[in-house]
Symmetry: D2
Amino acid sequence: MEELKKLAAKEALRYIDDDMIIGLGTGSTTAYFIQMLGKKLMTEELEDVYGIPTSHQSRLLALESGIPVVTLDEVDAIDIAVDGADEVDPHLNLIKGRGAALTMEKIIEYRAGTFIVLVDESKLVEYLGQRVPVPIEVIPAAWRAIKEELEVFNATAELRMGVKKDGPVITDNGNFILDAKFIKIEDPLDMEIELNNIPGVVENGIFADIADIILVGTKEGVKKLER
Amino acid sequence: MEELKKLAAKEALRYIDDDMIIGLGTGSTTAYFIQMLGKKLMTEELEDVYGIPTSHQSRLLALESGIPVVTLDEVDAIDIAVDGADEVDPHLNLIKGRGAALTMEKIIEYRAGTFIVLVDESKLVEYLGQRVPVPIEVIPAAWRAIKEELEVFNATAELRMGVKKDGPVITDNGNFILDAKFIKIEDPLDMEIELNNIPGVVENGIFADIADIILVGTKEGVKKLER
Amino acid sequence: MEELKKLAAKEALRYIDDDMIIGLGTGSTTAYFIQMLGKKLMTEELEDVYGIPTSHQSRLLALESGIPVVTLDEVDAIDIAVDGADEVDPHLNLIKGRGAALTMEKIIEYRAGTFIVLVDESKLVEYLGQRVPVPIEVIPAAWRAIKEELEVFNATAELRMGVKKDGPVITDNGNFILDAKFIKIEDPLDMEIELNNIPGVVENGIFADIADIILVGTKEGVKKLER
Amino acid sequence: MEELKKLAAKEALRYIDDDMIIGLGTGSTTAYFIQMLGKKLMTEELEDVYGIPTSHQSRLLALESGIPVVTLDEVDAIDIAVDGADEVDPHLNLIKGRGAALTMEKIIEYRAGTFIVLVDESKLVEYLGQRVPVPIEVIPAAWRAIKEELEVFNATAELRMGVKKDGPVITDNGNFILDAKFIKIEDPLDMEIELNNIPGVVENGIFADIADIILVGTKEGVKKLER
């Protein structure tokens, strides 16, 4: 599995050029990409590339890897964003958020000129919700009300609990995560909008219509899906 | 003006009964209501009434006024919510958020059995956006991107700056406020949904289709608008 | 082990009377106490007891268990606080914070009339720092500087990383945790003060001179240590 | 007054060299410094200077002024920090925090090789507490308890209220500010430590023993105080 992730990460590097601003996703697959990008900068194969991290995790890793970081309000445009995903459907819609960084990921990736997604083939599904729940970032006071209201969509939601802290996981923005298991998400774009309009929802892990390229690590090499 | 606000607040009290859970809005008009409600509890004209505050401000005022407070995740339902508004259109759509508490206000008021709005007559407008900007609560990192993207809607947005602190106003949730001046909001419900779907927007100050009763303080007494 | 924890929790219950305000600690040992206290309220063996939680975890558990919760700014005094600890030295000084709730725990327990600590015998040490690191809650921007400065105290600190979120654990207050392994803490009170005075430290997990009673679950029954 | 502030700011510029990392304080006096520094970078009189902001305010101003910004965890050392103060005593102890940025200011300035303070002569006092209160950043839940406990020090504290938001001012870290009026602070270093050790206090506005140079704008020119 790790080999397939590395394959995809390596392929993504080919899209990066000098003088680019790169959105840096969160998670184990993107971590390979960040480390490889750092090496290219160290060896000066690439120059004047800046990263915009989507989480404390990717920021710390970028700094360790020698990638200078900037933030969204310092730049005029993001050239490319690179991130992983938990599910990818045939129309390139995604579920993201296992790492609890979905809000900043969507903030950055929505605004990237090209959004490249790195996955191994186990993440390809027929429809969103097939295997994983949709993480939803919520204002803490509203968690229970939203959990109940999600039943309208036939979703069963659980408050995500911490392991290295007692009680709920807290996001980088100070909020809670509800993991909402849907039976089947028929219309991802519609569901994404409906969820965001529930008062107390900060952002949700459906990323409809924003991925441009999916690089899939397979045993036969990297497969490229495009819109 | 203060007299008209008090008139409306007093009228709202008539909707409150024993054993109710009341959403407590934020701002100067609601403050009269909270103080009057506290008195009714002190004199035992009302009993077993609990308040759910929508901000640090209304929470502190409720405690001072002798109203026991609970939070949304402790109750099964909110009977009535009472709050002010910055603009009310003829279809009872609202703009709220001058006090920067819009996110928690919407979380509470959206879930109230009956949402009662208290205003003086200066707040009645022909269409939303006629006089005041729409406050939008945003994740700090996204403020500049969102400010620029609002131009698509012909809106001019300003980052709200503090007076008793240097730099931007920080909300009770730790975010920034963009005050977005629209020329005219044609379809409030549609605009509310569109704004909420911009990555980085936590919530916005358009409250479409959720007010049930408007109590308007006028020189001729309290006028009641209803859907 | 769980049996010893339950023994201590049960013993703590004997200190609770009607009309008390109880600080509710965080963690697995205190969880037994909270559940037992809830039962006493359900069966009306105890009446008019209110809990002040020290974390989202203990708050949610208290509500599930039927204990009405209040907050520190609603009460005039806290009668008793009950919590666990990671280490207890012979002078009843503590290390706490494995659950990342140390700041709110200290806020509550420092102000309790009586602070009762529940542990099993494995937590008794000869000196603080013997087995566990001291968790230190820090403002995120300062984490690396503080980590380095702790070397002055011969402490090796690690940024605590999440399991159910990528990147660092975020506390209920939105901060990071540094786990600082000291060789030996000679003077706990002095070290507690020194750590708190480092700019960027919000609070640290040394609780010197504030525990009143330690209830130790042992195979021979509950042992009581007192100052 | 503004002229005296500008004089001091201009003098501070003389300490800045190429390749320096500069801590950028918050407030109106430092704002002049930031703008002047930006001009020197624009005209290339200075090169490779990076700023570390102490607040959203100074960060936004630095970016507008053309100063590239970094954060504390990206650098190995801060060469110089420049900031204003609300009071300066004859031993160069300070009260700071009128702009509510005291925590990040102390985090940065404590770690600067040289900390330069810019004031006009109205800020010079005989002893700390003579004219202004000490701002104390506190965890919101603890505000009322701390307010009462400050009476032990003969201090009268007020919760700082917002103007462009209803309810308390929220700091960039999401906390409250208590403004504590002392009769006279006899030993600033001792009081700074005592306040920081109160559970719930994040940081306080006494900056004892950390200023290296005070530049005082007077009608007779800039006066320099040094330790």
